[in-house]
Amino acid sequence: MTWSATTPGAHQPDNTAFTQQRLPAWQPLLSAGITLPLFFCVGLAFIGLGLGLFYSSNGIKELDYDYTGDAGTGNCSLCALADQDRAPPRNCSCAWYFSLPELFQGPVYLYYELTNFYQNNRRYGVSRDDSQLSGLPSSLRHPVNECAPYQYSAAGRPIAPCGAIANSLFNDSFTLWHQRPAGGPYVEVPLDRTGIAWWTDYHVKFHNPPLVNGSLALAFRGTAQPPNWPQPVYKLSSDPNNTGFINQDFVVWMRTAALPTFRKLYARIRQGNYSTGLPRGAYRVNITYNYPVRAFGGHKRIIFTSISWMGGKNPFLGIAYLVVGSLCILTGFVMLVVYIRYQDQNDEDEDEE
């Protein structure tokens, strides 16, 4: 009955630990005495970890060169000057010379770095069509709206690959030359341009559209190249396994960077004589300067780095661990003082009770 809800509960409540709120419980009391060992333990562990990290980060060698071409910084400034009017000269080349006094321990990775480049801004970041990139023929013909205004070309043909990310593909290229004997001829160092993208990206996410009559070009027929691109996507490389949507440079580029300053892997050096690293000697990097960044205050760098178990060179983690660890130790000492000073008092309190 509706009013029976108001009659006194006839049955007794269950007498269980749960209903009586008497569940066995651990009741930690945060006080100096308790946290003291915690702080010391954490502090020591962190300092140890930090030292390890610091040294392993320090063991990583890094060699970088800003080839943006600011005035007076090298021979790329010519190309950069040309870049000013937003019409990059085709294949303006410049070079970076450096010499290694000793072996650059390998394996050596070649990165390029862009600064002030907001790959993470919202409208840029969404401007892509993953199903087009996965080779779906229907998506190839009908890119998603997010790609606009790089969805259809002025002629009304679908752009492949569509979107702002693809349109802004980084298109500088580098070759590395090694002058093995001093004064001798420069020998090209083989750059391994494969395997620079995530394995899953290359094998799962990115696929070329099904070949038409065995030809990739035919598969892309009816599509337009992105406005900034000098050539269609199927001409990115001559290697059939590295062209079209599965061109590794392209795949790497499509993984948008987290921060406005970012690196992207360009190549690995691990072939032939260079599998252990770059031997000592003079080197030259030939740069094909295409990519205009000076307009928006960006910089381009080229970086050689070795890699340890924790990735590239980054002293931060080690330092951070050291700092936090020392803070913990410091707090531990504070706690110790507090503990010693106030222990007696607390005991008195206890006695009073």
Binding site: W3, A10, P13, N15, Q27, S31, N121, N167, M335
Partner: protein, 1464 residues
């Protein structure tokens, strides 16, 4: 069938529209009769009437979705979330996949909808069950009663109910198998009262000889519209011959009640279904908003503001960013879809909207749902607490309001009723005084003491249940329950009269209010002797003309006194072992005089003119009338015969003796074990039992007669002419009877002494008789005051003899009043007042209302907890003060300020005087401290930490009249300020309305959290007004419980409810709400810092899935578990250290400052959690979401660790929940990141998590960031725990360090118990093996000390009468009476208490004489009459005595000035 009056006039208009216009009455006709107008068929008329189908469901299958959604969108938050979700569908601003963004809000809506649906379904099921109950309805076709479902009953149907059936609708009783046309019902379902109520067949129908035939019912019933007043029903029935008979609530059988003791009844349905009073009263649970929630809503608004600020900031930033890079034609700048460039302003607007979507997490969508879940669990736990379950009655605490549990932890003021709340409301007759002679009843007092002692013994020695064969099974069951309990937790706290209570509960099925303690009364030998003498005398003299004249006036008074005790009530006699019909003896006068014709028929006009001198003549006429009118049936009473014979001079003694012998045979043998008295109020029962102890036993009660059994006189049957019931305004009840011995018409009145004493016949002071009367009165008044001092409830018994003319005259107007439909109550009230004048005082009774178990301890605890306790009672001042002492509300070393004023000006003057005194008496109470800052003013003035410095505490006692003045607009501030200075406030003689006004005042002016606790109907308004209303499901029905938020079985459970559950609920919820804000701010902070690195483009590095489900799935469970289970301090510590309750009162857990500190910490933590991954992945080739996922993980870990720091108790559930959260996050991430290679743009997180798991930096950041983020908080908490622990932390440390120490003091709850135990004079040895009995022992010993103490108070010259001349009071420090030590050491103690009481006119003359009735220990602040030199009589004192006047003015002005700055 039924029509409304308006409907009848315009039959063409459809019923629905008519309903709005229908008149104030309803007309009911029999459904069996053809309708009066052929054009108005029954079906049409009945269409707009509620049928008896019960439909409490809100929804139908069709209406569920729209209706439920509509209801849910009443909550603003839901609208907001839907708005945000819909915003996501706009392409330019969308942040997430639109469908995904809808998910959480849909989830929340769905959960709520499901809950509603489930509740509705269970309602539907119970409705269905009830609708399909069967009952007998008269069928027109079959001409007999057939079984129909309840739902098929319609208004106008005839229903036949058998014994123990539940009444299906509101039915007008037309016929009963009972020969008197009575029907007994039990209304427990309706109001919880278990005593049987009597209902009466409509007058005119009860005389029918044959069985009632519905087919012949042609009358029309007119009655009021359906309303929810259970105590009222008005209407009349019009017979075909035009005769009108009034209908009252006594004729109604209300739905939900049960027919008892009556074989079968027939009635016509008046109200059905939802128009029944039971359902109109069923308003469902109440919804209040708790203080915490109000505060939280305010902080939610802050969050909204924060959100808007963040979004605005972002928008501006984005606008600038767009402007900067657009010009430069940056490669990453994306033009509008049509290729045109995006203007910075548009971009900013888009960004703003997108930011709102992205940062919506800041407004916690799941907060409301989580709070509701936590509250549900809290209510569950409170309901489940075995310690809040009264073993004796089996009733337990009920939470009727579901969402104010945390308010229990913040209460600052407790307003308590006295009777039934602090006391048992089990009345025990203690003393009486008859015609100025007091009868001490020493033996009775000893007996009571024995009862109290006996409780503890009985506990262990007497096998429960065995002593009570009739309810043995229950007893053994209860004992079994008792054995199951852990001994440490419950039973040792149950002191007092447990066995008695159990016995009472066992009997309660049959009788209300009668434990053996109340029933077995040892009579006072002197009085018994007198009663017997009366009895003998009367028995001898009964044949004479004026039997009572043979008695001395004193003996006559004694006789009348007991007759009044016996019959002036509404007690029903039942004899459960015998069917009622056999016991009853019928009497030929069917009903009391109800019409003037009836009266005239009975008393011929000649008699009216000749007056009462012709008594014999009247009797003769009457006798002839009787013999002529109808033959006396065999059953007709010997008493009536006897009376006839008495009047006639009694020529037939044989018959008379026959009559007596038969009466003796029927009644004398031993009626006591067979008769049970069922009273509506416990003091009635106590008085009837008392009278029975004096051999003056109530033997039977019918509507028109009362039978009284006396040993020598035998059975006297009084013709009951009228009963004027008790009401709280008149404060008295009366019966009008015809005395069988004298045939006089007597009025017996029983009522509060204050009113009855004013209604007495003014006695002439010139003759001896008058002087004697005066003396008797003053003596009685003296004894009354003494009773009051002893804490007894006093009642005056008075009598009035009416002459025939007086009666006739009164009757005429009374009948008019009775038959009027409008304004009936008012007229009846005035009629009663006309009757109850010129009374002759018979005597007074003192009834003890025993304190409930554990009340003093509870009050002490609550006070230690910083609660101010006000007692608002209707009792007289002395009684209230005494009870207040008994329950330790007042202390003997307290100063008591008594405010009794008879006029507004006097009240103002007194208040000023008191304020001055208060302000002068201690620097700490100078209101500078409270200046303008209310929260400071909250802190009670006498915290236990500094009692030594502040001197004695103050208490305020104010009576109802002064209270009325003090509550006037111009004085209420002063009154409140004064009351705030006092440790306890006692309002006596207050009306229900005043109670609620006081509560409202404190609540609104002091902005304090108030709790009102009461048990009776008079407390309902107070309970409703307070923030938290608590009802005691006690003796006085269920009205208070119905109005309350929480219902308790006993007052003492308030302690645990507030101090433990209230504290827990508050602390849990406060911490959870804070945590919620922290969590969301911290999470949003991460996103906000990122905006600085993505051009404020409202981009998010956290995957949208994580963003949306983070709150809902990953981080919700641990906080819920903590919110439900966390105990900041264990219950036993809370109980031993009630001071810990103050943290809730002062809102220590959740105040604006904590909120902002919390937010700041959240900002810091988000900075750490953002920048550590930022720097760790700086200069790397990580992509956006591979970088965002570690941040999400870090956030989750930080939340859990933060919760870990804040969680005080870790049960396995907490561990499980935390583990579950982490596991859930990782497994969801794994599955999600592996599920689809090309879905979920733009994040497209394929294989991200899997890659991260192989990256050591991921683990390194996940380890570092939470530790670094929480380091400050951990440091602070640790330092706080060691250096400046809050009281709560101390409590926890205490519990942790010495768990055994705590369990030891549990045995001795409360200070006085401990004292009592150390008392060497304690007769009972303390047995270590039986810890329970110790408490009972101490309880009992304390109880015995109490009367002694008050006797001492009255006996010793103990009152310190200090005069404070008014002109000295201002500014001066009123030194002499400040310290109790001073006053105690004073050699001369003027004015012993007794002498004060014997002051003539004491009761009426205390307008300014505020005197405190204190025992010798107390110090008294006494603004005596002499000091003010004014009196009630010279009301024009102000002009006459200019100096005090000026002083008063100055005072008032000064304090007014102060008031402006100081008071509030």
């Amino acid at each position: 069938m039924e029509r409304d009056t308006a409907a009848a006039e315009e039959p063409a208009v459809p019923g629905r529209r008519l309903r709005r216009r229908e008149g104030r009455t309803r007309t009911v006709r029999s459904n069996l009769q053809p309708p009066p107008g052929a054009e108005d068929p029954a079906a049409k008329g009945a269409r707009h009437l509620a049928d008896n189908r019960l439909k409490t469901t809100k929804y139908t299958a069709l209406s569920f979705l729209p209706k439920n959604l509509f209801e849910q969108f009443h909550r603003l938050a839901n609208v907001y979330f839907v708005f945000i979700a819909l915003l996501n569908f706009v392409p330019a601003v969308n942040a997430f996949q639109p469908g995904l963004a809808l998910a959480p809000v849909l989830f929340i809506l769905a959960v709520t909808a499901f809950k509603d649906l489930w509740e509705d379904y269970s309602r539907h099921r119970s409705d269905h069950e009830i609708n399909h109950l069967g009952c007998l309805v008269f069928s027109r076709e079959e001409k007999r009663y057939v079984t129909r479902f309840w739902k098929e009953i319609r208004v106008g149907d005839f229903v036949r109910l058998r014994c123990n059936e539940i009444i299906p609708a509101d039915i007008l009783l037309l016929s009963s198998s009972d020969p008197d046309g009575l029907c007994h019902i039990e209304t427990a379902n309706l109001d919880g009262e278990t005593n049987l109520k009597r209902r009466q067949v409509v007058r005119g129908f009860s005389e029918l000889v044959s069985e009632f035939n519905p087919l012949t019912f042609t009358s029309v019933i007119e009655c009021e519209r359906p309303n929810n007043d259970l105590t009222r029903f008005r209407g009349c029935i019009k017979h075909e011959d035009g005769e009108k008979v009034g209908l009252h609530k006594e004729n109604m059988l209300l739905r939900g009640c049960t027919v008892r003791n009556t074989e079968a009844v027939v009635g016509i349905v008046i109200y059905a279904g939802h128009e029944t009073k039971a359902l109109l009263n069923n308003s469902g649970p109440r919804y209040k908003r708790s203080r915490l929630e109000r505060q939280m809503n305010c902080d939610v608004l802050w969050c909204v503001l924060l959100l808007v600020c963040m979004s605005l900031f972002s928008a501006v930033g984005h606008g600038l960013w767009v402007q900067r890079y657009q010009e430069k034609k940056a490669l990453f700048d994306v033009p509008e879809p049509d290729g045109s460039s995006l203007s910075p302003v548009t971009a900013a607007v888009y960004s703003f909207l997108t930011m709102i979507i992205v940062l919506q997490v800041l407004i916690p969508i799941s907060l409301y749902v989580s709070i509701e879940i936590v509250k549900m669990c809290q209510v569950y736990f409170i309901n489940q607490d075995a310690e809040l379950c009264d073993e004796e009655t089996g009733s337990r605490l009920q939470c009727r309001a579901l969402n104010i549990t945390e308010d229990l932890g913040q209460i600052q003021y407790v307003f308590s009723d006295k009777t039934g709340t602090l006391t048992e409301n089990k009345m025990v007759f203690r003393k009486c005084t008859v015609s100025g002679i007091e009868y001490e009843h020493d033996a009775n007092a000893q007996r009571l003491a024995r009862y109290q002692e006996g409780d503890s013994e009985e506990e262990d020695t007497v096998p429960r249940g065995g002593s009570l064969p009739q309810r043995g099974s229950t007893g053994s069951h209860q004992s079994a329950r008792g054995l199951h309990r852990a001994p440490g937790t419950t039973s040792h706290r149950r002191s007092g009269s447990r066995a008695e209570a159990r016995r009472a509960s066992m009997l309660s099925k049959h009788t209300a209010f009668s434990s053996p303690m109340e029933k077995d009364i040892t009579p006072d030998p002197k009085l018994l002797e007198k009663v017997n003498e009366c009895d003998r005398c009367l028995a001898m003299a009964r044949c004479q003309e004026h039997p009572l004249a043979h008695l001395s006036p004193e003996l006559a008074d004694v006789f009348d006194f007991f007759i009044a005790l016996t019959i002036c009530n509404t007690v029903v006699v039942t004899s459960p072992n015998q069917p009622r019909q056999k016991v009853r003896v019928r009497f030929e006068l069917k009903s009391p005089v109800k019409t003037i014709e009836d009266f005239l028929r009975r008393f011929s006009p000649s008699r009216l003119t000749s007056g009462c001198s012709s008594l014999g003549n009247l009797a003769t006429t009457k006798a002839t009338h009787k013999s002529g009118s109808s033959s006396l049936s065999a059953l007709s009473s010997e008493c009536s015969l006897l009376r006839v014979e008495d009047q006639l001079g009694g020529p037939a003694p044989v018959i008379t003796s026959n009559g007596y012998s038969s009466g003796a045979a029927g009644w004398a043998p031993d009626p006591k074990p067979e008769l049970r008295y069922e009273a509506e109020s416990p003091d009635e029962a106590a008085l009837v039992y008392a009278a029975r102890a004096y051999n003056c036993a109530l033997a039977g009660r019918l509507p028109d007669q009362v039978a009284v059994e006396l040993p020598h006189l035998g059975r006297l049957t009084f013709e009951l002419l009228h009963t004027l019931g008790f009401d709280s305004i008149r404060k008295r009840m009366s019966v009008v009877i015809r005395h069988p011995l004298t045939d006089e018409i007597n009025v017996y009145t029983k009522g509060a002494d204050s009113v009855v004493m004013d209604l007495l016949l003014p006695c002439a002071s010139d003759d001896a008789r008058g002087r004697h009367q005066k003396k008797i009165r003053s003596k009685t008044q003296h004894y009354l005051d003494m009773y009051a001092v002893q804490g007894l409830r006093t009642l005056c018994i008075a009598k009035r003899v009416l002459s025939q003319e007086e009666y006739a005259c009164w009757l005429q107007r009374h009948l008019e009043a009775e038959s009027s439909v409008d304004n009936r109550e008012e007229l009846l009230f005035q009629s009663a007042i006309r009757l109850e004048t010129n009374l002759h005082l018979l005597g007074a009774t003192g009834i003890e209302d025993r304190l409930q178990d554990g009340v003093p301890e509870t009050i002490a605890k609550l006070r230690q907890a910083g609660l101010q306790i006000w007692v608002l009672t209707g009792d007289k001042q002395e009684t209230a003060i005494n009870i207040a002492y008994a329950c330790k509300l007042l202390d003997h070393d307290e100063e008591i300020i008594t405010l009794n004023a008879e006029s507004q000006e006097a009240c103002a003057a007194l208040l000023d005087q008191c304020l001055h005194y208060v302000q002068s008496r201690g620097p700490h109470s100078v209101p500078e401290k409270t200046t303008g800052y209310i929260s400071v003013g909250f802190s009670p003035l006498c915290p236990p930490s500094e009692p030594a410095t502040s001197g004695p505490c103050l208490s305020l006692v104010i009576d109802g009249r002064s209270l009325a003045y003090a509550l006037e607009k111009n004085l209420e501030d002063k009154f409140l300020f004064l009351a705030k200075q006092c440790r306890s406030v006692l309002c006596c003689r207050s009306t229900p309305l005043q109670k609620s006004v006081v509560v409202k005042l404190v609540r609104s002016k002091l902005k304090a959290m108030t709790l009102a606790i009461g048990d009776g109907a008079n407390d309902v308004s107070m309970i409703q007004v307070a923030d938290v209303g608590v009802g005691i499901s006690g003796q006085e029905g269920m009205q208070a419980v119905m109005a309350s938020d929480f219902a308790l079985p006993r007052f003492r459970y308030l302690e645990k409810l507030l101090i433990v559950h209230g504290h827990w609920c508050y602390s849990r919820l406060a911490n959870m709400v804070l945590y919620f804000f922290y969590k969301n701010t911290m999470f949003v902070g991460l996103l906000f810092w990122f905006q600085f690195y993505c051009g404020f483009s409202a981009s998010a590095m956290i995957d949208q899935w994580y963003l949306i489900f983070f709150n809902l799935l990953f981080s919700s469970l641990p906080q819920l578990v903590t919110g439900v289970l966390d105990k900041d301090v264990p219950a036993d510590v809370l109980l031993t250290k009630p001071q810990l309750y103050r943290s809730g009162q002062n809102m220590e857990e959740y105040r604006p400052r904590t909120f902002w500190v919390n937010m700041a910490d959240a900002a810091f933590q988000s900075l750490v959690c953002f920048f550590i991954p930022y720097l760790a992945y700086y200069n790397s080739d990580t992509d956006l979401f591979t970088w965002g996922t570690p941040i999400t993980t870090i956030a989750l870990l930080t939340f859990l660790l933060h919760l870990g720091i804040e969680t005080k108790t870790w049960t396995w559930l907490n561990w499980m929940a935390c583990g579950f959260s982490v596991l859930l996050f990782f497994s969801v991430a794994f599955i999600y990141n592996a599920s689809c290679a090309t879905c979920y743009p733009p994040s497209n997180p394929y294989w991200t998590m899997h890659t991260l798991m192989g990256d050591p930096v991921f683990y390194l950041t996940c380890l570092l960031a939470p530790v670094a983020a929480l380091l400050p908080r951990l440091l602070f908490r640790a330092l706080q725990g060691s250096l400046f622990p809050t009281p709560l932390q101390r409590g926890r440390q205490l519990a942790k360090r010495s768990p055994k120490k705590l369990s030891a003091p549990k045995e001795t709850q409360g200070p006085h118990v401990g004292e009592a135990r150390t008392d060497p004079s304690e007769p009972r040895s303390v047995s270590a093996s039986r810890p329970h009995s110790q408490d009972y022992t101490s309880q009992a010993s304390w109880r015995r000390q109490q009367p002694a103490c008050s006797r001492e108070a009255s006996g010793e010259p103990s009152v310190v009468d200090v005069s404070v001349p008014l002109r000295e009071a201002p500014g001066s420090s009123a030194a002499p009476e400040r310290y109790p030590g001073d006053s105690r050491t004073k050699p001369s103690r003027p004015a012993p208490l007794a002498s004060i009481f014997s002051l003539p006119g004491f009761g009426s003359l205390r307008w300014v004489s505020s005197l405190s009735l204190v025992s010798g220990l107390g110090s008294v602040l006494h603004f005596s009459r002499s000091s003010l030199q004014v009196d009630k009589q010279d009301g024009e004192f102000l002009p006459r005595r200019p100096r005090p006047d000026r002083d008063l003015c100055g005072l008032t002005a000064a304090s007014k000035q102060k008031q402006a700055t100081d008071y509030f």
